[in-house]
């Protein structure tokens, strides 16, 4: 273990260097969060249009006919446009929201603060990581405006649909290539980011910051980086192969003898399953990249508002490591029915079920932490508690999908949509919300409005259950996912339920305006935040809100305590990490 203080760079004076092309991890963290905010609003609007279409497929969407004259002439959404929206929704949400906000965003801002460093290990690489991410996002969005529109092969981009080019449908031309380029760029950016997180955690910890004293969120970011380092290192070459199949005439993923749009495709010998293996080898760990930071954030926030230490901190870390390790052994559960050897299904099923053990332990630790607590119900605390609830809901439906025998029935249905939206979408979003309410004062030096925050929580909490719980029922009834309209006879009775979900989704989406308003208003006019408004222990609360350019004003903290010291007797029930012994 070594000591902090190193990468200090003088604060630049020009506006551009300070706020735009800054190498300061705090600016970069905020930039990532701003990017995620733009992305999440985009992704949410896309989901609104999709949900509206599913409820009322023949009703024109007001104004959409002008925005998308090809995809939705007269506002009536075409099947390909629906799939394009769906692909963009999934891609934007998974990559540019669930990866950037909880991991790259909060991680960048707080990981160096947590370890007592003045900046990341490689500030320039850090800056590059953000700008490449932004560029990747713009490349992805450009698919809306170039050629036949965005691709329609979903965020998983299964080959050969994604590999054969425009014969496979509108958007499978330029749009799909832009998608693959964007994702490859995103991989590079996240590899650079992960490299930074790991090096910073290993080498830039301040005096006294042993690994055991690392705050839980930083542990989670650290482990997430290790996962990301492996996962994105696999997806990137996979994207390169996909791009080559598309533009250079190779046949990595395209078998011989395909006839698409009446044209015999000039490819031979490729393996569609190869793409699925490469993709899910990344894809399942990616789920943990999205959710582990949430675990860390919740584990850090709950003790602060429960005013007692997290139950079993070491167990928590061990479970995180176990999850990270197991996450690389389970990808095949996405492929039970893909045509791979059925014997391997059982082999993939066992680790998939086993991974629920550490996840269950973590949930029980959170609930056990509440025992005997003195809960303070701030918006951040509510979202952390809500996280536990929605994560449990989403995790449990995983039991059905982890078993090949029940997956036979539920695989391609809305049950899966419900499962992953709860467990990685909603749960991760709750982690992001909790983190935002918790850290906003530190990031911007102003408090958020608690009343609005609580309204935001209650309406969102009820809303997401109304949206995603019924999707389990749809799945049980055999409702296939990724359908732009329900023309099958057996799906007709389910349309009222779809309409209910649509209304709930529009409502829940509208509720987020409260959050947006709170965010903007508090940034401008919120009450000035003290250094440690929540009486928390970790290092970021030892410095001013917001922290100075070098984080600790030239006096790197010396750590003498763990992050988990709450509930002491006396006038102050907590001990800060940098407090003299």
């Amino acid at each position: 273990m070594t000591h902090g203080v190193t990468t200090a760079h003088a604060q630049p004076q020009s506006f551009l260097r300070r706020h735009v092309f800054s190498v300061d991890h705090k600016v970069i963290g905020r930039q990532y969060l701003d990017l995620a905010l733009v992305a999440v609003v985009t992704g949410m609007v896309l989901s609104w249009i999709m949900r509206f279409h599913l409820g009322w497929p023949e009703t024109p969407v007001p104004g959409l006919g002008k925005l998308a004259p090809t995809g939705a002439a007269g506002g009536v959404i075409t099947p390909e446009y629906y799939l394009a929206l769906m692909t963009m929704h999934g891609t934007i949400m998974v990559f540019f929201v669930l990866t950037t906000a909880p991991f790259a965003g909060f991680g960048n801002f707080f990981l160096p603060l947590h370890v007592g460093a003045e900046d990341m290990a490689f500030p320039r690489i850090n800056m590059m990581s953000f700008w490449v991410t932004l560029l990747a996002f713009l490349v992805l969005l450009s698919a809306f405006f170039i050629g036949d529109g965005p691709p329609l092969s979903g965020w998983t981009a299964y080959a050969p649909l994604s590999a054969v080019g425009k014969d496979a449908g509108p958007g499978q031309g330029v749009g799909q290539t832009l998608w693959a380029v964007s994702i490859a760029m995103f991989c590079v950016a996240q590899l650079l980011g992960s490299l930074n997180f790991i090096a910073t955690t290993l080498d830039l910890r301040t005096r006294g910051m042993s690994l055991a004293r690392l705050p839980f969120a930083t542990w989670a970011w650290f482990i997430t980086s290790v996962i990301g380092l492996i996962a994105f290192a696999v997806l990137m070459p996979a994207c390169i192969l996909l791009i080559l199949d598309r533009v250079a005439g190779t046949s990595f993923f395209i078998p011989a003898g395909l006839v698409i749009s009446d044209r015999l495709q000039p490819h031979a010998g490729g393996s569609p399953l190869l793409w699925q293996h490469l993709f899910w080898f990344f894809g399942h760990p990616e789920v943990y990249i999205a959710i582990l930071p949430g675990f860390g954030i919740v584990s850090q926030i709950l003790p602060v508002f429960a005013r007692k230490p997290l139950l079993g901190p070491r167990v928590f870390i061990v479970c995180l490591i176990a999850i990270a390790f197991l996450s690389y052994t389970v990808w095949g559960h996405h492929m039970f029915l893909s045509g791979m050897n059925p014997v391997s299904a059982t082999l993939f099923s066992v680790p998939t079920l086993v991974i629920t053990i550490p996840a269950t332990i973590i949930c029980l630790l959170w609930i056990g932490t509440l025992y005997g607590a003195r809960l303070r119900f701030t918006a951040a605390a509510l979202f952390a508690l809500g996280f536990v609830s929605v994560f449990v809901s989403g995790g449990i439906s995983g039991f059905f999908l982890a078993q090949p025998s029940t997956d036979i029935y539920l695989h391609g249905t809305y049950f899966v949509v419900a499962h992953f939206h709860f467990v990685m979408g909603v749960a991760a979003m709750f982690g992001i919300f909790a983190g935002t309410y918790f850290w906003f004062p530190k990031m911007f030096g102003r408090m958020m409005n608690e009343t609005l925050g609580k309204w935001h929580f209650w309406l969102t909490f009820i809303g997401v259950y109304c949206v995603f719980m019924p999707m389990h029922y749809l799945g049980l009834a055999g409702n296939v996912r990724r359908y732009s309209a329900f023309t099958d006879d057996y799906l007709q009775p389910l349309i009222p339920l779809h309409r209910f979900i649509t209304i709930a989704a529009l409502f829940t989406g509208a509720v987020q305006l409260i959050f947006l308003y709170n965010l903007i208003r508090s940034r401008l006019r919120g009450p000035v935040a003290p250094a440690n408004p929540w009486e928390a222990t970790t290092l970021e609360w030892s410095t001013s809100s917001p922290p100075p350019h070098d984080n600790f004003g030239g006096h790197p903290p010396v750590v003498t305590h763990g992050p988990n010291e709450f509930g002491g007797a006396g006038p102050r029930d907590y001990v800060m990490q940098a407090e003299p012994q």
Binding site: A73, G74, V76, I77, T78, E80, G169, S261, R263, A485
Partner: protein, 237 residues
């Protein structure tokens, strides 16, 4: 929406666009009949069972349309057009209608001049997809859900473009995009006529999607009507 089935049938025989204005100068006509020799491919019933409301629209089973023949070995859906010797004529400006009804393209073959406006309608209570597999012209691929406005377009280059509905594999048709405005498409008795021809010598070509092309020279003088019959060779497979 207007019923256009009859209208489209009319479009089959029509030569050039007939607009208002002063009466045209005396003009000749080429008409005739297209027949086949050889063995026809088997006509197969189209199985539309995946789209039940198209099944119910056809009381008698529909058969494949890539080789439709009539009495006296006549061949339907043959495009007969002036391929050389055209002296120029006012461009066809009336709109060609192309319908999707009962999961069929009506007409199966729509002939048009380059730049002639084309309108594609969906008369079915569900979504269709129109995918002209163009190679010379820009290829496009659009769906037309129920209730969506008609697709208005035109083609810039002469080309015989196969049209495919990606949603209903059996739906196939052709856009015959021609440089000339002098063309006709054979009807159910294999007959066609090309009108409005000034005096001159023309190469007239008959094109069929399976039976290939045949050409012959025809000289038209004044306002006479010349006959030009074509015999195409059918192959069973």
């Amino acid at each position: 929406m207007v019923k256009k089935e009859e209208g489209s049938d009319r479009a089959l025989h029509r030569g050039i666009g007939v607009g208002g204005g002063p009466p045209p100068p005396p003009a000749g006509t080429i008409s005739g009949k297209v027949t086949y020799t050889g063995t026809l491919p088997k006509v197969r019933p189209i199985d539309m069972s995946k789209e039940p409301n198209c099944v119910t629209q056809h009381p008698t089973p529909v058969t494949t349309q890539d080789a439709v023949t009539g009495p006296g070995n006549s061949v339907r859906y043959v495009v007969v057009y002036v391929s050389a010797g055209d002296q120029g004529a006012p461009a066809a400006t009336d709109t060609v209608h192309y319908d999707q009804k009962g999961c069929l393209y009506i007409p199966h073959v729509a002939a048009m001049q380059v730049h002639q406006p084309l309108e594609i309608f969906n008369d079915d209570p569900h979504s269709h997809n129109i995918h002209p597999l163009a190679r010379v012209n820009p290829e496009w691929n659009k769906s037309q859900p129920k209730g969506a406005p008609p697709i208005r377009t035109a083609w810039d280059q002469p080309e015989f473009i196969p049209v495919k509905c990606n949603v209903h594999p059996w739906m196939h048709g052709y856009f015959a995009v021609l440089a000339t405005s002098h063309f006709g498409v054979t009807d159910s008795t294999g007959e066609f006529s090309i009108t409005g021809l000034p005096a001159g010598t023309y190469t007239v070509t008959a094109w069929h999607e399976r039976f290939g092309t045949k050409s012959q020279e025809v000289t038209v003088g004044g306002s006479e009507t010349k006959t030009a019959n074509f015999v195409l060779t059918a192959r069973p497979y």
